[in-house]
């Protein structure tokens, strides 16, 4: 793997941000809306004085975490779609660029995007609601990293589907993540789900992350088993989605669909 080729694609995406206000808005807009809506709801619930339920930390923490996952998936998918929309896949794949380097670049673009979103989310949460995500020490960081990993897997998976079925499937880049939300126990514990859905929930790394986040916020201690479960599930998902993407890429090359995808 050659880093200069990954860097080339990363810089190519940064050129787009430099002059595109809508792209910057896309990064900022949704997280700001989420923080405002869920923040005010949290404030309202806080006033109801429900014993043992700290609405601001639980709900707002969940929203911030959810946005990390959401942006992580979306950024990988959009970095891929930018190449499709600009009909640039042919240009870049007649260079020595490897598939792994291409995926590495989309993930790096995602890291930059998440970094920006992270700044927006943590700043707004603190300014509006005095919610400091980092007040819980470093324990939340492994869980955040697990969300990034899962977001990349989901992004690579949706990209593979778009590769296979063409741009008619591009809506998945924006909507697929919503399918995950009800089963990830984002705003409620897994135990709130029906038993059979709890089985589904435990197949998702995000479930362990959100459960873990609530434990950290409530007790201030690190639930190691939840963190490790999330990580192991992430490794499995990442390996499977990379394999799936490679299979779909081989398929479009075999069927001559790489250019038709763009058309």
């Amino acid at each position: 793997m050659k880093f200069y080729r990954i860097q080339a694609l990363l810089i190519r995406h940064l050129y787009l941000f430099k002059r595109s206000f809508p792209r910057i808005m896309d990064i900022v807009y949704w997280p700001v809306m989420d923080i405002l809506v869920w923040g005010f709801l949290s404030l309202y619930i806080e006033k109801l004085n429900i014993t043992g339920f700290n609405a601001i930390t639980v709900l707002l923490g969940a929203v911030v975490f959810w946005d990390f996952l959401n942006q992580s998936q979306k950024s990988v998918s959009i970095a891929f779609l930018e190449e499709v929309w600009e009909k640039n896949l042919l240009n870049i794949f007649v260079t020595p660029l490897r598939l792994s380097e291409f995926l590495g670049a989309t993930v790096l673009v995602g890291v930059v995007r998440i970094f920006l979103v992270g700044i927006v989310l943590t700043s707004l949460s603190y300014v509006f609601y005095h919610f400091n995500l980092f007040a819980f020490g470093l324990y939340l960081i492994p869980f955040i990293l697990n969300l990034f990993l899962f977001g990349w897997s989901l992004g690579i998976f949706t990209n593979a589907i778009i590769l296979r079925f063409g741009t008619s499937a591009q809506i998945l880049a924006f909507g697929f993540i919503i399918l995950i939300q009800p089963f990830s126990a984002v705003f409620y514990p897994v135990s709130a789900l029906p038993e059979w859905l709890q089985v589904v929930a435990h197949l998702l790394p995000s479930t362990y992350v959100f459960e873990g986040m609530r434990v950290v916020i409530a007790t201030g201690s690190m639930p190691t088993s939840l963190m490790l479960s999330a990580f192991l599930a992430n490794v499995v998902y990442l390996v499977l989605t990379l394999w799936f993407f490679a299979r779909m890429f081989a398929y479009v090359k075999r069927e001559g669909k790489l250019l038709k995808l763009e058309g």
């Binding site: 050659k2 200069y4 080729r5 860097q7 080339a8 694609l9 810089i11 190519r12 050129y15 787009l16 595109s20 600009e86 009909k87 640039n88 042919l90 240009n91 870049i92 794949f93 007649v94 260079t95 020595p96 660029l97 490897r98 081989a250 090359k253 075999r254 069927e255 001559g256 790489l258 250019l259």
Partner: protein, 275 residues
């Protein structure tokens, strides 16, 4: 002379294509929701030449070019570029070649200079800015370096594509109809540039075009294909003589209109056209 490209028994089928034997015992192919776009093609391109890959629409030229670029995986057969095969030396092959087509534009939402920087970096070009500077003068595109690529005219885009195509000092250039949709003036300038590239840089060029006058002007050799099969090859002037015509256009028409069964029907076919 060394062959830069060697293609042997290259086949590309899309969908389901089965071999059949007709009642006369001859081999053919039957397509069930499928098509055999390239059918046992073989040819070689010698170093330092401009070779025209010619044939009517649907002959399999674009599919062949895309297989040469590793954008489409062949069903069977062998492609050797610089004596190497993609399955073992993909990076080395692609580092040494480049591609340009008016049908494939660079990202419109980047400036001309940003596009050149991006592709130069992808090829790991040393002293990239100096290299761009040199090529910008060669192709006379300095005036619009800061322009957004979507604002360029067709002629400017062609020159930009060719500039990009020379960034990595390729030994082999694959050009798909580089003068299509250009006015006669710009088309002529492009041809002159291609001849300069060959002469000054020793680049081997494989070239597709439907303009036979242009092909006669710049190609050292041409290869005719039809229905994905090799039909004939040679120096343009010699082929004109061989077929007893006045120009390459008539040779093209003879080959394109030669009674030749559709390979999908699975009936008689001859591989070589008789003059």
């Amino acid at each position: 002379m060394t062959s830069v490209i060697e293609v042997e028994n290259l086949v590309k089928s899309f969908g389901t294509v089965r071999p059949v034997r007709s009642h006369e015992g001859t081999q053919g192919v039957s397509a069930s929701n499928g098509v055999r776009a390239v059918d046992g093609l073989y040819f070689a391109v010698e170093e330092g030449t401009i070779t025209g890959l010619l044939g009517p629409n649907g002959a399999g030229k674009t599919t062949t070019i895309q297989m040469l670029l590793d954008l489409i995986t062949p069903t069977s057969g062998t492609i050797r570029i610089f004596g190497k095969e993609y399955k073992t030396a993909r990076e080395a092959i692609l580092q040494g070649l480049n591609f340009s087509s008016p049908y494939v534009s660079l990202p419109g939402n980047l400036t001309v200079y940003e596009n050149l920087l991006t592709f130069g970096r992808l090829y790991g070009v040393k002293n990239l800015r100096k290299k761009i500077d040199e090529l910008v003068d060669f192709f006379e595109i300095r005036d619009f370096l800061k322009k957004m690529t979507y604002n360029l005219s067709t002629g400017q885009l062609t020159r930009l594509n060719l500039t990009k195509a020379l960034l990595n000092d390729p030994k082999l250039l694959l050009l798909d109809e580089p003068t299509a949709s250009l006015d006669p003036d710009i088309a002529d300038r492009t041809r002159q540039l291609l001849m300069r590239i060959k002469k000054e840089r020793g680049v081997t060029i494989l070239y597709t075009s439907h303009n036979m006058e242009e092909v006669e002007e710049i190609c050292d050799k041409v290869i005719f294909i039809q229905h994905g099969k090799f039909k004939d090859e040679g120096v343009p002037a010699e082929l004109v003589k061989k077929y007893g015509h006045e120009d390459l256009n008539d040779v093209f028409l003879t080959i394109a209109r030669q009674h030749d069964t559709n390979p999908l029907m699975g009936t008689n076919d001859t591989n070589n056209v008789q003059p």
